[in-house]
C-alpha cells in the first residue's frame, strides 16, 4: 500500500467532497477506508495499491470530474 496526498485547487462547494470521495473509492486498488477528502485544505489523502493502479489513474478520476489537480505526493 502506498500513501498519496493530492493537492487540489481550492474546493468551494460542499458537494464536491462527496463526488470526489465516491469517484476515488470506485477505483479498483484504492483502500476505501483510507480515502479522506479535506475540504478546507483542499486535499485528498488515500492509500492505494501501486501494482493495481498508478497515481495518474487517480488524478485522472478526479480531474475528469472537473477539479484541477495541482500536485500529488506518493509515499510508500
Amino acid at each position: 500500500m502506498q500513501k498519496a496526498t493530492i493537492q487540489l485547487e481550492a474546493l468551494v462547494c460542499p458537494s464536491c467532497m462527496q463526488k470526489i470521495e465516491n469517484a476515488v473509492k470506485a477505483l479498483d486498488g484504492v483502500n476505501k477506508d483510507s480515502v479522506k477528502v479535506l475540504f478546507n485544505s483542499s486535499k485528498v489523502k488515500l492509500e492505494f495499491d501501486a501494482e493495481r493502479l498508478s497515481i495518474e489513474n487517480i488524478e485522472n478520476a478526479i480531474s475528469s470530474l472537473g477539479y484541477v489537480v495541482k500536485k500529488s505526493q506518493v509515499k510508500s
Binding site: C13, P14, S15, K19, F39
Partner: protein
C-alpha cells in the same frame, strides 16, 4: 469541453445577469414581451449548462447533488413556461457560487498565510563545493546548506560556521531575533535577519518542526467532531430525500410549480458548509496568535472545560530557581561567598546553579575531599577549612549549633516559599540562603481572566512540598493546591476529577507530564516548539506563553458558539422555507434560491468573524 465551460462559470453568471437585466428593461420600460421571453430563455439555457454538467458528473459517481436538484427544477420551470424564474434561479445559483468562493478564500486566509511561510528553495553545496539553488524537496538529511541574510532557513539544522540573528516568530511566536552561532540549532521557516550561516540539515520537509506544525493545523481544520459526522451522514441522505419529497408532492398535487420550489429550497448548502467554515476561521485565528487547536473535537471539549489543572514548575513558575533571600551570621561575607562558589561551581544541582549565578565572578579556591551527602548537601575542604553546604539535616549531622535567631530566620525564609541552603565553616553557621522559583510574569492576571470565563476550579499539582505549593496558590488565587505529587499521582488525581464529572484541562510543559496530558480531556502543552509537546497534547501554546491560555479558551468558546449559530441558521432557513411553501402564497422558486444562497453567505460571513476574535478584559 466540459472543463472549459466549468472554468468559465463566473463569466456565464455575468452574461446571464446582463440578459436578465435586458429582459426586464424591455418588459417594464418598452413593454416588449418578445424580447423579454427570448432574453430569459437565453439566460436560462446558458446558465443551466454548467450546472447540468456538474449534476451529470456527480451522477456518474452515484451522487445526487444540489446541481441535480437545480437542473430538474429549472427544467420543470421551463416546461410550465415560467421563464422568468428559471433564468433568475440559474443566475442566483451561479452568482452564489462565485460569492462563496470569494468569501471562503477569505476565511481560509489565516491558515494559507501560515503555509505560505514554508521555505521553497535552498542553497545546497554540490559535489564541486559550489552552492547552487535547489528546490527544498531536493534537500536530504546531511546536506550542507548556505543561508544568506534575509532568506528563510530551509530545514531544521545545526550551524557549522558563521553567526547571525534569526527571527523565529514562525516557530515560537516571539519576534525578537535570536543569536545563532556554531552548533546552534536553527529551524525551518525562520528568517535570518543578518549574518550568514552554513548549516547541516538534520530534519527535512514534513519532519521539521515547522512542517509538523503545518501538517497539524491542516489536519485540525478538517478534523470532524461527532456532530459534524452526523451532519455529513444526514446531508448524504438529505438531498435524495428532497428529490423524493418533491416527486411525491408532484404525484399528489400535480402541481409542477410547487414541486420544483421544494427542490430548490431543500438545497442543504449552508448545513454542509456551516461547521467547516467556523473551524477553519477559528483555527486560523489561533495559529496567528500562537495557539494550536487540534480540531473541532478539541474545540468542543475545551469550550466546556470547568476545571484547569496546572503543573507548577515551568508552567506557573519560570522553572529556573533564583536566590531570593540571604542572611549572613559573620562580617566576613566575602570569604563565605568565595568558599560557597568554589564548592557549588563543581555541582550540577539546580540550587547550586542558582547560587553560582547569584554570586557571579569571584576568587575560586581549590576544593578537596568533596563528599556529596545524599539528601543533604556537600561537605568539602576548601582553603584548609571544612565547609558544609546543605539543608538543616546536614547541619545537624555536622554538629553545627543552630540558635534561636537562626531558627526564626529559617521559619521566616520557609514561609516565603524558599528552599533553604545553609553554609557552615569549621562547624559554625555562616550563612542562610533562600532560593525560590519565580512566578511567571502575567500569570496572576491570566488566572483571573480564566475565572471570569467560567472556569470554576483552578488547581495546582506539584512535586514540591505543600508549603511552597500553597504559597503559589495563594499568591495566584487558585482554588486548590496539592504538593508532594509524583507524575502518576497527578494522573490519578485527574482521573478522580473526571469521575466527579468535571471536564478537565491539564496545562504542563509536556516533558514529564505526558501521562496527565494524555489523560485529561484537554492536554495543553506549553511548548517552545518541541516535538513531544506538539504531538502529545490537544492544544499547544507556542513560545510557552502563558497569556495565550485565555485566548485559547475564549477562542474555543467562540468557535463552539459560532458552529452552533451556523447550524441554527442553516436548519432554521430550511424549516422556515418549507413551512412557507405549504402555508403561504408568496413563496416561489426565485425567493427560495435567494434564501438558500443568502443563508450560505450568512454562515460564511458569520464564520469569518472568528478571524478577528481577540480576548477582551
Amino acid at each position: 469541453m466540459q472543463r472549459f465551460i466549468l472554468s468559465k462559470k463566473n463569466q456565464i453568471a455575468l452574461i446571464s445577469s446582463i440578459l436578465i437585466m435586458t429582459g426586464f428593461i424591455s418588459k417594464l420600460i418598452f413593454k416588449n414581451e418578445v424580447i423579454f421571453s427570448w432574453a430569459m430563455i437565453a439566460a436560462s439555457v446558458i446558465g443551466i449548462v454548467p450546472i447540468a454538467i456538474q449534476a451529470y458528473q456527480a451522477l456518474k459517481v452515484k451522487v445526487i447533488s444540489i446541481d441535480l436538484l437545480v437542473t430538474i427544477a429549472v427544467g420543470g420551470a421551463f416546461i410550465i413556461r415560467n421563464l422568468e424564474e428559471s433564468a433568475v434561479v440559474t443566475f442566483l445559483f451561479l452568482f452564489g457560487a462565485f460569492l462563496e468562493q470569494r468569501t471562503l478564500n477569505k476565511t481560509r486566509s489565516a491558515i494559507k498565510e501560515l503555509t505560505e511561510m514554508a521555505p521553497e528553495s535552498a542553497l545546497k553545496q554540490m559535489e564541486n563545493g559550489e552552492f547552487e539553488e535547489v528546490d527544498v524537496d531536493e534537500v536530504d538529511v546531511g546536506d550542507v546548506l548556505l543561508v544568506k541574510t534575509g532568506s528563510k532557513v530551509p530545514v531544521d539544522g545545526t550551524v557549522l560556521t558563521g553567526e547571525g540573528y534569526v527571527n523565529e516568530a514562525t516557530i515560537t511566536g516571539e519576534s525578537v531575533p535570536v543569536r545563532k552561532n556554531v552548533n546552534s540549532t536553527v529551524y525551518a521557516g525562520t528568517i535570518l535577519e543578518n549574518g550568514t550561516l552554513k548549516i547541516i540539515a538534520d530534519k527535512v520537509g514534513e519532519d521539521t518542526t515547522f512542517g509538523k506544525i503545518i501538517e497539524l493545523v491542516e489536519e485540525a481544520q478538517d478534523s470532524k467532531s461527532e456532530t459534524e459526522r452526523f451532519i455529513d451522514r444526514f446531508s448524504r441522505y438529505y438531498t435524495p430525500a428532497v428529490l423524493l419529497l418533491s416527486f411525491i408532492v408532484w404525484l399528489f398535487s400535480r402541481n409542477i410549480g410547487l414541486a420544483i420550489t421544494i427542490l430548490v429550497l431543500g438545497c442543504p448548502g449552508a448545513l454542509v458548509i456551516g461547521v467547516p467554515v467556523s473551524s477553519v476561521a477559528g483555527i486560523g485565528n489561533g495559529a496567528r496568535y500562537g495557539v494550536l487547536l487540534k480540531g473541532s473535537e478539541v474545540i468542543q471539549d475545551f469550550s466546556k472545560t470547568d476545571t484547569i489543572v496546572f503543573d507548577k514548575t515551568g508552567t506557573l513558575t519560570i522553572g529556573n530557581p533564583k536566590v531570593a533571600d540571604t542572611k549572613f551570621y559573620t562580617d566576613n561575607t566575602d570569604e563565605v561567598l568565595n568558599c560557597l562558589a568554589s564548592i557549588e561551581s563543581e555541582s550540577g544541582h539546580p540550587l547550586a546553579k542558582a547560587i553560582v549565578e547569584y554570586i557571579g565572578e569571584t576568587t575560586l579556591y581549590t576544593v578537596e575531599n568533596t563528599d556529596v551527602v545524599k539528601c543533604g548537601g556537600i561537605v568539602a575542604t576548601v582553603n584548609k577549612l571544612r565547609v558544609a553546604v546543605g539543608n538543616a539535616a546536614l547541619m545537624e549531622k555536622e554538629n553545627v549549633h543552630i540558635g534561636d535567631t537562626v531558627r526564626a530566620d529559617i521559619e521566616h525564609f520557609e514561609k516565603k516559599g524558599n528552599s533553604l541552603v545553609l553554609v557552615s565553616i569549621d562547624g559554625d553557621l555562616k550563612a542562610l540562603i533562600g532560593i525560590r522559583d519565580q512566578i511567571r510574569p502575567g500569570v496572576k492576571e491570566e488566572i483571573s481572566k480564566l475565572k471570569r470565563m467560567g472556569v470554576r476550579n483552578l488547581i495546582v499539582l506539584s512535586g514540591d512540598n505543600q508549603g511552597t505549593v500553597d504559597l503559589v496558590a495563594n499568591e495566584l488565587g487558585l482554588t486548590e493546591a496539592h504538593g508532594n505529587m509524583l507524575p502518576e499521582d497527578k494522573a490519578d488525581y485527574i482521573k478522580k476529577l473526571q469521575k466527579e464529572g468535571r471536564v478537565v484541562a491539564f496545562v504542563g510543559d509536556g516533558v514529564n507530564d505526558s501521562p496527565s496530558l494524555a489523560l485529561a480531556n484537554i492536554g495543553i502543552a506549553m511548548g517552545g516548539g518541541t516535538d513531544v509537546a506538539i504531538e502529545t497534547s490537544d492544544v499547544v501554546l507556542m513560545n510557552s506563553d502563558f497569556s495565550r491560555l485565555s485566548h485559547a479558551l475564549g477562542l474555543s468558546k467562540a468557535i463552539a458558539n459560532n458552529m452552533l449559530q451556523n447550524i441554527i441558521i442553516a436548519v432554521g432557513v430550511v424549516l422556515i422555507l418549507l413551512a412557507s411553501v405549504f402555508f403561504s402564497s408568496w413563496m416561489n422558486m426565485s425567493i427560495a434560491m435567494l434564501a438558500h444562497e443568502a443563508s450560505i453567505l450568512a454562515v460564511i460571513l458569520n464564520g469569518m468573524r472568528l478571524l478577528r476574535y481577540s480576548v477582551t478584559g
